[in-house]
């Protein structure tokens, strides 16, 4: 990265200061940076999603792009149909295209409800995916690693902590008596977990800020070595 008062460093530095100034109080410079940030980032994703998803995954796969440009792209469904006379699986992407287009019915006052179809598709895929993968990675895999021989203090702590923590999450029994005691211990473990993760994160976050200050004082102003 170039150092010193270049145009790009100066723009970057002003924007950095503008955002940080929010810590003192809301002010015109922050409002400016915030508005700019919202606009630029929305535009960034708008462009990126087109080039990274819509173009390669839909238009290229179907063979629409290839109709208009001579770019070096693999043949799509249309080209396969014309050249080899075979209906390729990639024609199925037409369904995705239709579902996607239905999303835009939101813009038409009385047809908005049709956009529930693509939505239902997304929710279905999501539930199917989460149903299996989260069960495996969160429930089964964690259960597996909690089954430990009680041959060290560490293992005893893990087993007791996990068991009591689970009891805390038990919804259909009042937390009284033994259950209450275990749930209480469970809360202690949760609190230690939160404290420890918080403490650990302090480190990461401070490093980020050090990085920004280093940009201002070394890269831009060139004050430190």
């Amino acid at each position: 990265m170039e150092t010193g008062f270049t145009l790009s460093n100066t723009i970057a530095a002003i924007l950095t200061i503008g955002i940080i100034s929010f810590l003192w109080k809301d002010n015109p410079l922050y409002k400016l940076c915030e508005s700019l940030f919202v606009g630029v980032s929305a535009g960034y994703w708008f462009v990126s999603l087109y080039y990274q998803n819509l173009l390669p995954k839909l238009f290229d796969t179907l063979g629409l792009t290839q109709l208009f440009t001579s770019a070096d792209i693999e043949p799509g469904a249309i080209q396969i149909l014309i050249n080899e006379g075979r209906v390729d699986n990639s024609f199925l992407y037409l369904i995705a295209g239709i579902l996607g287009a239905l999303m835009l019915t939101r813009l038409i006052p009385n047809l908005g409800w049709i956009s529930r179809w693509p939505l239902a598709f997304i929710v279905g895929t999501t539930s199917g995916l989460y149903f299996t993968t989260y069960f495996q990675s969160n429930a089964m895999a964690q259960l597996r690693s909690t089954i430990l021989p009680l041959d060290s203090i560490g293992n005893v702590v893990i087993v007791i902590g996990t068991v009591c923590g689970l009891v805390y999450f038990y919804f259909s029994k009042e937390h009284k008596g033994v259950m209450g005691g275990a749930a209480r211990v469970g809360v202690w473990f949760l609190m230690i977990t939160f404290g420890a993760s918080f403490g650990y994160t302090v480190m990461s976050r401070m490093s980020l800020l050090i990085g920004r200050f280093d940009f201002i004082f070394s890269t831009w102003l060139g004050l430190t070595g």
Binding site: T16, C33, A42, P118, F121, F131, G199
Partner: protein
């Protein structure tokens, strides 16, 4: 009608996805890739709605001369500032290559804004710890102590002030122990609970028992 078709669609797609998890045989072998791609395509269409909404709200405000309307001009300007070069002047699908107009704005406007916003967390972490880490109750004290040990144990100072302790009991080592055992136990309990919560929520969605996200009959 307006609710039934989406519910059937959700259930059908959900089941197909679950089946492909257990059945490697055709036609299920291509389902995962297919459905994931389709989802991305739908999202890519949907962002048009969001972008148009942002522009509409901003232009409305400018038109009505609402409070702080000048800043809405900046938002619209920012959007066009990156979208127009991105679509028309950055070499098409190689828009992210170093040296394109899109990349210049990304590097010099987007990145510093984003990195600074991320870095502001450092300040918020400090003010949140000041307020939250008070030994009000037994539970709060445990949170406080764990955070304290880990924070000190993660920097050289922690070892400096506990050098007189025997090996294995210095702050950085105690911090490691907390991370690896009590912290791990708490994490596991949370994760297992989440796993079960997600299984049951997904099942309710697939079976159409939970359907408020689809809205009403109109």
């Amino acid at each position: 009608m307006r609710r039934e078709i989406p519910m059937i669609l959700t259930g059908f797609v959900g089941f197909v996805y679950i089946i492909q998890f257990f059945v490697p045989h055709a036609p299920f072998d291509i389902m995962e890739g297919l459905l994931t791609d389709w989802m991305l395509i739908i999202f890519a269409f949907a962002i048009w709605l969001g972008a148009l909404n942002l522009l509409k709200v901003s232009l409305d405000k400018i038109y009505r001369k609402g409070k702080d309307w000048q800043y809405s001009i900046v938002t619209v300007f920012g959007f066009l500032l990156i979208a127009i070069p991105g679509f028309f002047f950055s070499g098409g699908r190689r828009f992210q290559d170093p040296g394109t107009a899109f990349d210049y704005i990304y590097q010099n406007v987007y990145t510093p804004l984003s990195a600074t916003m991320f870095a502001m967390l450092a300040f918020f972490v400090a003010s949140a710890s000041y307020r939250a880490f008070r030994a009000r109750t037994k539970e709060a004290t445990m949170l406080l102590l764990a955070a304290f040990v880990v924070m000190l144990g993660r920097v050289p100072v922690g070892d400096m002030i506990t050098q007189w302790l025997p090996e294995g009991y210095r702050l950085s080592q105690v911090a490691d122990w907390i991370m690896n055992y009590p912290n791990m136990a708490g994490q596991r309990a949370i994760m297992i609970g989440i796993g079960l919560g997600i299984v049951s929520t997904s099942l309710r969605l697939i079976l159409g028992i939970e359907r408020s996200h689809l809205g009403g009959e109109e």
